[in-house]
């Protein structure tokens, strides 16, 4: 029953919602709207699960005195502190909550992402070598796209047009093939899930 019930729910909802898509009857539309409301309510539980996960992982780190366990204390205290001031002091632009977001989280996340510029340059210098015919093509294309994406491209005749052509013709052809394959794969997997053939999402191996 523990496994059969979820499979039955998935099958009924899967087949039901597929039929619903093609039937614009008021009854069918009402069911669709109710399901949408459920989805949003269930979506709110992702946050609960996420917070729960963070708390459990960090609690165990502190309890077992794992490496850098004191960072877990900072994580938990920060989580409750920011949530507390957000709930009780509001989230408008001039509030402490938004000041923390704008002056702590925002620059920290942006700074970490910007480090990519350093890693990319170092990696490009060390690894982007024309060792084979394929890597040579990749290197030339990447160089053209990089030049085409900056205003200085006007000093390299045709680079901007060629970069645009690579993206909108060569890239498009490849992408479309991949997308069609992905689409067919998704449809096949969806049918397997609805019919109960694919059960890995239930967990527990088989």
């Amino acid at each position: 029953m523990k496994r059969k019930l979820p499979l039955l729910i998935v099958m009924i909802l899967g087949i039901g919602m597929t039929i619903q898509y093609f039937v614009p009857h008021p009854l069918s539309m009402n069911i669709y709207r109710i399901i949408l409301d459920w989805m949003i309510i269930i979506g709110a539980f992702y946050l609960v699960l996420g917070i729960g996960g963070v708390l459990i992982i960090n609690y165990h780190k502190i309890k077992r005195r794992k490496e850098n366990w004191w960072l877990s204390i900072i994580t938990i205290v920060s989580l409750f502190f920011v949530a507390f001031i957000g709930i009780f002091n509001g989230v408008r632009s001039e509030t402490l909550f938004m000041k923390i977001f704008s002056n702590v989280q925002l620059p920290m996340q942006a700074a970490i992402f910007s480090l990519l510029a350093f890693y990319i340059t170092s990696a490009a210098f060390r690894s982007f070598r024309a060792k084979t015919a394929e890597s040579t093509v990749l290197l030339i294309v990447a160089t053209i796209i990089m030049i085409g994406n900056i205003p200085l491209s006007k000093y390299v005749p045709g680079s901007s047009v060629f970069a645009e052509w690579i993206l909108s013709v060569l890239n498009l052809a490849g992408q479309r093939g991949i997308l069609l394959g992905v689409g067919l794969g998704m449809a096949a997997t969806s049918i397997k899930i609805i019919l109960g053939i694919e059960r890995s999402y239930l967990g527990g191996g088989q």
């Binding site: 979506g43 920290m108 340059t121 982007f128 160089t143 030049i147 909108s168 479309r176």
Partner: protein, 293 residues
């Protein structure tokens, strides 16, 4: 170890130092770049231009977090300036919890800056609730996109500040996608594709996007088919949009994307230079090794 061998083994710290110089130094000098007008940028600009002033609002979703705000926030700022200057109403939302903080911060800053300019120039100022609205974060991304198609006010009962959306002038007579002329998704991920799947396919909503340069290649197929009416690509797309708004409306404000083009251009040129240098040293060292054998 000769010069080329030393170059091949150049330490990371020197590369990091040089790229830092390439990014920081251009910020101290004013470089004038003539921005182009790519068809994808023009597509979005023209779509917003085609909306009747003070009519139904368009929707802009900040589907990004602070990590990609360097490329995407300038797009949001330029689009907001365009909307405010041309009297187009706008609803702001986000499918991410961090995105809504960015939406609120960016929008209130642009509105304040625009109002200062408007008062100085004797033009109409923008008013929250009438000209723009910030909607709250609602969990369940795909469900939210679908739910807007059924009932916008059921999806967002209140705005970000707790006002009932029913009471806001900007959202008067806006029930679902039928009244929203275009939805713009600014994202550093594949979220714009979800807008295509759920809002365009099911509700025939016009979709446009602003994406990071690194992910732009993934979205070209949708642009060519017309599923995206326009697309801003990375900082270049934002700079092109800023330039269009400045040319046509002359709104005062810091054009951060155009300023950002100088460090980006120098960084790109430096990376290309390093790739060429790396390859030259690789082939010379390889040749020298072959000779010595």
């Amino acid at each position: 170890m000769n010069f080329w061998e030393k170059l091949s083994n150049l330490g990371k710290k020197w590369i990091y130092l040089m790229i830092a110089i390439c990014v920081i130094v251009p910020l101290f000098f004013k470089f004038e770049f003539k921005m182009g007008k790519s068809p994808s940028t023009m597509g979005l600009y023209n779509k917003i231009e085609s909306i009747a002033p003070d009519s139904f609002p368009f929707l802009m979703s900040y589907d990004y977090d602070p990590s990609t705000q360097g490329e995407l926030s300038p797009m949001a700022i330029a689009i907001l300036r365009h909307a405010f200057a041309s009297h187009k109403r706008v609803m702001l939302m986000s499918l991410l919890p961090q995105g809504i903080g960015l939406a609120e911060g960016v929008t209130s800053r642009v509105a304040k800056e625009f109002n200062e300019y408007a008062i100085k120039e004797g033009k109409d100022t923008v008013v929250y609730g009438t000209d723009y609205v910030v909607l709250p974060f609602t969990p369940g991304a795909s469900a939210v996109m679908l739910s807007i198609g059924e009932s916008l006010k059921n999806t967002f009962v209140t705005d970000y500040y707790g006002n009932l959306t029913d009471t806001l002038e900007c959202m008067k007579n806006v029930y679902n996608y039928n009244q929203i002329p275009v939805t713009i998704s600014l994202a550093g991920s594949s979220v714009p594709k979800s807008w295509i799947i759920y809002a365009y396919t099911r509700y025939n909503e016009k979709i446009a996007c602003g994406v990071t340069a690194v992910s732009a290649a993934d979205f070209y197929p949708y642009l060519r088919t017309g599923q995206f009416v326009g697309m801003l690509t990375g900082l270049r797309g934002a700079a092109e949009y800023e330039n269009l708004v400045r040319e046509n409306y002359n709104v005062e404000g810091r054009d951060i994307a155009i300023i950002g083009m100088s460090p980006q251009s120098f960084a790109h040129l430096f990376i290309i230079f390093m790739i060429i240098l790396g390859n030259i040293s690789y082939f010379i060292v390889k040749k020298q090794k072959a000779r010595s054998l």
